[in-house]
């Protein structure tokens, strides 16, 4: 039987097991939306902005490991997806994004709502297609899902002209794909793995430097076995949080610009770095020429271009993290004995000393405004037993969440790392909530970031996605203000946001629930109240506007040169500004070791 392109599109998605499509219609994709109207599965989630659809699909993909699917129209529909495409490229998120295109006969004529979708998206996709003939549609969709989800995952865009969605052909969904130029390497090189095992057994100050690749390859068990067997401490990147239990005694927490003191000191002084699915990003290495000066490097990554790009690597292993760790574990299991723990004792003594010297900590006095890390700590304490999925936006609140919200489970952390996309957090949480309707999904957002995609409140209401949004409301682009404090003499050029909108009224306007806390003692109460409500909840946490996030490695600094607190000059200035009283009695100190 012959089907038209729109029917082929939907049937192909069914073959791929797609349950949800995030999207927004327009002229050239109306045929496809018309066909979708008859289907319950896949379900279309109508978003209020295409960028919202993209981040929802990313949240869905990160939480499930499956490809997120987006369908938008040509021209502005497509251009609104660009931020999401770039974000997904940087953070290796599997997406298949379908964009409408003007009819093939009009392409190139500056037709109404025409854009060069393939040209615009080329540098921010893993691959992209323009389908010029309905006979190629099924094959293209098959390839798109295959490319998006295999190797190093990433976004794939498929551009479908209007006439292609209307034309008819026989529907045959291919069983297999073969792309001769695309053969990701999964198994690591045996000899290299053997070399790595030997180096690991000899190292005196080894460190695991774990990245997002560990999450995508589902290597949690292998990583845990590896770390426990070898007793090697674990540093995680922002993207890796949750891939190794944050509360595990071997975890040193996050490393990098706002990483824990111990994690950064550990990598700086190590003699062997085992980089697993990480890519030596500049937010991790700081000044490359001074990064880990004494260390040999083993680098395991599925993407050959990540290896030897920034650092000279001694033992490169191209392969899937899970496969390689499995094999490495086999080698080590055969050669490890009880002595190893003894041998690493001096290293662990050193690490414990660092932990004691500078634990991750905050001070919250009850007369003070809410300190953001206190807020995150309370969110953590009151929800972690429910194993929530946590999303963040970009800025100070993101770094505090990374520091203080300890995640013990993989795929529970949704954050924009490589691109640092403000506005990511809220829609990403909605996507994850759609994937896991029964689970607690927390979205820790900045007041600046949240306002970039708050229109999706309507989507949350429409589809009953009861995400709990904690707005860390400091009235500033806080991270910008922090840099201005430290490097621009506290000249707050364009970083002040003030207190609009009234988030409680905003929630109300959408039919959601708005709550507010302005004092530390109110924090627990509103969190508990929010958790009881089966609706989207916006909580306006009005926090200390001048709190800065530490430790901090200034851009271009070395990892052992962390700033641990506000410089004295600044401390005085800020106290004056905040009009805060001297720390009095009732001071509550939270000390979290990491």
């Amino acid at each position: 039987m012959k089907l038209n392109g729109a029917q082929i599109f939907v049937e192909s998605l069914k073959k791929e097991g797609v349950k949800v499509i995030f999207g927004l219609p327009g002229g050239v994709v109306l045929k496809i939306f018309d066909v979708l109207y008859d289907y319950k599965d896949p379900e279309v989630i109508l978003t209020r902005h295409e960028q919202g659809a993209m981040h929802m699909a990313e949240g869905y993909a990160k939480a499930t490991g499956k490809a997120g699917v987006v369908l938008v129209t040509s021209g502005p529909g497509m251009t609104n997806t660009v931020t999401g495409l770039a974000d997904a490229s940087m953070d290796s998120v599997p997406l298949v994004v379908f964009t409408g295109q003007v009819s093939t006969s009009l392409i190139g004529n500056d037709a109404f709502q025409e854009a060069d979708n393939v040209g615009i998206s080329r540098p921010c996709t893993k691959y992209n297609y323009l389908v010029k003939d309905v006979n190629d549609l099924a094959q293209t969709i098959k390839e798109a899902f295959y490319i998006a989800t295999t190797g190093r995952p990433g976004p794939v865009l498929v551009d479908i002209p209007k006439d292609v969605s209307m034309n008819q052909t026989e529907f045959n969904y291919p069983e297999k794909v073969y792309i001769r130029g695309y053969n990701p390497t999964y198994e690591g090189h045996k000899w290299q793995i053997k070399q790595a095992a030997e180096a690991i057994l000899k190292a005196k100050r080894p460190i695991l430097y774990v990245g997002g690749g560990t999450v995508f390859s589902n290597a949690f068990e292998e990583l845990r076995e590896f770390a426990e067997m070898t007793q090697i401490p674990v540093d995680m990147t922002l993207m890796a949080l949750g891939s190794f239990p944050g509360t595990h005694p071997l975890s040193l927490g996050m490393l990098g610009m706002h990483g824990s003191y111990t994690s950064n000191m550990a990598i700086h002084h190590s003699d062997l770095i085992i980089a697993v699915g990480s890519r030596f990003d500049d937010r991790v290495t700081g000044k490359v020429s001074e990064f880990a000066p004494h260390a040999k490097i083993i680098h395991i990554d599925i993407d050959p271009t990540s290896i030897q790009k920034i650092m000279n690597v001694d033992i490169p292993i191209v392969g899937d993290v899970k496969c390689v760790l499995k094999e490495l574990n086999q080698h080590l299991r055969a050669s490890l004995d009880g002595r190893r723990k003894e041998e690493l004792k001096p290293w662990w003594n050193q690490l414990e000393e660092w932990k004691k010297k500078n634990p991750l900590t905050y001070k919250q006095n009850k007369d003070q405004k809410i300190k953001p890390p206190y807020l995150i700590d309370r969110l953590y304490e009151l929800t972690h037993d429910q194993n929530p999925i946590v999303s963040t936006d970009v800025g100070q609140h993101q770094m505090w969440a990374a520091q203080f919200f300890k995640l013990d489970h993989p795929r529970t952390w949704l954050t924009s790392g490589g691109l640092g996309t403000m506005g990511f957090g809220f829609p990403a949480a909605l996507g994850a909530q759609r994937a896991f309707p029964g689970r607690l999904v927390l979205s820790i957002v900045g007041d600046g970031s949240f306002q970039m995609n708050l229109q999706e409140m309507a989507t949350a209401m429409d589809y009953h996605l009861p995400v709990k949004v904690a707005i860390v409301n400091n009235g500033y682009h806080g991270m910008v203000r922090q840099w201005q404090d430290l490097f621009y003499n506290s000249r707050y050029s364009s970083s002040f946001l003030g207190q609009h909108p009234d988030y409680v009224k905003l929630a109300d306007a959408y039919g959601a629930v708005g709550l507010r806390a302005t004092k530390p003692e109110e924090v627990d109460g509103v969190i508990k109240e929010a958790l009881k409500i089966d609706k989207p909840v916006l909580i306006d946490f009005q926090v200390d506007p001048y709190e800065n996030c530490y430790p901090m490695i200034p851009a271009g600094g070395a990892n052992n040169e962390m700033i641990m607190e506000d410089p004295p000059e600044l401390r005085k200035k800020e106290k004056d500004k905040a009009g805060m009283k001297k720390a009095g009695n009732g001071e509550k100190e939270g000390v979290l070791t990491a």
Binding site: G181, N183, V313, P316, I317, V318
Partner: protein, 175 residues
């Protein structure tokens, strides 16, 4: 150091812009690029001339390999190879200059492929040295126009790496 890289690609639209976009997007140098069909109609061959230190050239090769439409990448500079370029040079040639132009053409085993009362168009094929040399000699006569193909190159011995071996490329192991 200069590297000549052969890139075997799918003969599809958009492939050239993927390769060119890779170089511009990542700030790699590209001295010349030539593309043509091969005996297999589904495959085109690109010859790229680029420069950079070892780390950069390694990245270039890996990034090219990563492109899905790239089937095989060979850094010809790692072995013996033959490289050629063709140039068409239109010079003004009047009076006594005509004889001088022909003499130079002869010495370089070049050919006059077109002639008008006031010009000669000369075709030369050779390596970079030869081409630079003839251009320098013709300059005093007045070069009106010049078009170069960019270099194409081929390995002297049969390259062992088979097409399917893309992921086995030794550069990927850094060994």
């Amino acid at each position: 150091m200069e590297h000549i890289i052969s890139v075997m690609v799918e003969n599809k639209f958009g492939v050239l812009s993927r390769v060119a976009g890779l170089f511009s997007g990542r700030g790699f140098n590209i001295d010349s690029l030539s593309v043509g069909p091969t005996i297999d109609p589904t495959v085109s061959m690109m010859t790229l001339v680029t420069r950079g230190d070892d780390r950069i050239v390694e990245q270039i090769i890996k990034q090219l390999n990563k492109l899905i439409d790239v089937i095989k990448v060979i850094d010809l500079s790692e072995g013996a190879f033959v490289a050629r370029e063709t140039v068409l040079i239109k010079i003004s040639a009047k009076g006594e200059d005509r004889a001088e132009a022909l003499r130079i053409t002869d010495i370089f085993r070049a050919r006059v492929v077109d002639s008008t009362p006031a010009t000669y168009t000369i075709e030369v094929t050779g390596d970079t040295n030869k081409i630079e040399a003839i251009i320098n000699l013709l300059k005093p006569l007045g070069i009106k126009d010049l078009v170069r193909t960019g270099r194409i190159a081929i390995a002297r011995e049969e390259i062992k790496t088979a097409v399917q071996d893309k992921p086995q490329d030794k550069k990927r192991f850094g060994t």
